[in-house]
Every structure is written in C-alpha cells, then in structure tokens.
Amino acid sequence: MEEQLFLSEDLPIDPSATSSLKETTYWTRFLTICFVVFIVLMIVATIGMIVAKDLIMQSIPSSIPFGKLGVMGMIIAMALVIGVMSVFTYFLFEFTSQTKKAFDQQDQQALERGITGLKNYLMISGVIGILSLVGAIFKLFTLL
C-alpha cells in the first residue's frame, strides 16, 4: 500500500543523479561507436562472402559433408548478427542521444524516451542471454 503511494509521487533528479546519467552517456556513446564500426565491418565481410561465394564453394573439397551449405549458413548467420546488432545499437544510441538532449534542454519527454531506450537495450540483451542459456542447457543434456 505504502509502495503504491510512493509510486504515484515524483522523485527529484538531483545533481548526483544528473552527473551519473551524464557520465553514463559518455561511455554508452563510445560503445555505440564501437558497435557501429563492428556492424560496418560485418556488412563488408558479408558482402565479400556473397561476392566470393562461388570461389569459396569451389575451394571446399567435396569430401566435406554439407560444406557448400555451410557457406550459405555462414552468410545467413552473419546477416542475422548484423540485424540483431543493428537493433541493439539503435536502442543504445536512443538512450545516449535522448538522455543527453534531456539534460541539455531540460526535456522531460526526452528523458522518458532515453530510459525507454535503455530498457529496450537491456531487454534485447536479456532475451539473447536467455536464448544462449537455453541453448547451453540443451547442449548439456545432449552430452549427458
């Protein structure tokens, strides 16, 4: 009951919270730039693989089972990684830019958009984490 009462009240953002959030955006900006560079490199590598697909397939000995399918699978996997990383990076960028805008222009709406961006970023990370963990548990069962 008391908790519900507190939830309906506003909580002031003081200089300490402002300083922490501002410094967080400096680090998230750095991470966003690194992710963008990684995505660009992945796109270049994927395009390279698509262009040189026939050449790579010819070099794979026919004795290797599913070797040619493996190349196609790799291209699909790389495209999937690019897609997930792009969404991931977009939400981190949203958090960085909107939170900075909120403090620069004292914009309450921008702060809400920024925190929503952070929530979405952590949500995607969490979903990827859950999927990886489920995969690892399945692997463990196959080993037993």
Binding site: L7, D10, L11, S20, A102, G129, A136
Partner: protein, 131 residues
Amino acid sequence: MELYNEEIQRLTVTPALKEQFIQTAKWAKIIVITAWAGSVLSMVFDAGSGEWGAFAAGFFSLGISVAIYIYLLKFGNEIKKGVNSNDPQLFNTGLFSLRTYFKIVSLLLIIILGICLLIFLFVIVFAVLRK
C-alpha cells in the same frame, strides 16, 4: 550551481518513468542471472571435457563476468528499492552502479581492441620480416 538548481526543479522521475525504471531493473537482473549461469555452465562443459586449460580460462572468464555484472545487479536492486520507497539516495547509488557497469564494459572493450591491434601489428611485422 544555478544550472543544477534549475535541473532539480525541471527534471523529475514521474510515475510513468518509475515504471520504465522498474522494467529496466528487472531486465538488468535477468541479464546478470543468465550471464552468471552461462559462465558456470561453460565451466561445467570444460571440466567435463577434461581440458584443464579451458577450465582455467572458463574460471577466469567467470571472475570477469562476476566483476562486470555485480554492478548491473546493484543497479537493478538499488533502482527498484529507490523507486519503490521514493529514496533519492538509493536511486542515485543505482545510477552510479549503472555508470560503473558501462565504464567497466567500455574499458574492457578498449583493452580487447588494444590487444587485437597489437596482434595485427605483430602479424604485419612478422610477415615483413619473413620476406
């Protein structure tokens, strides 16, 4: 100082924003649980395979994982408590933990990129010397 006073007056954590913070804290805790469970499972695989080098690497990776995600866990717990009890002190500590988490992740990334760059330079120098 004047700017800070202005910020105190204007920006607040509204009930809608509190809900967003609670959701963010929930996902932060899920990430921590999955990351730590994943690291422990990875160590179990390595121990099962009998490769002690891989097991040691897994143990090292678990240590790094604990060091990074402890701050995300602190963020999740303190933000939730701060928002639920309307306690600015706990809320600030939570945001400070979030800042530390992103700082550690960024610094680790800088170290990894530095090592990659060194390996790249080493390979180039080695290739030139071999010619």
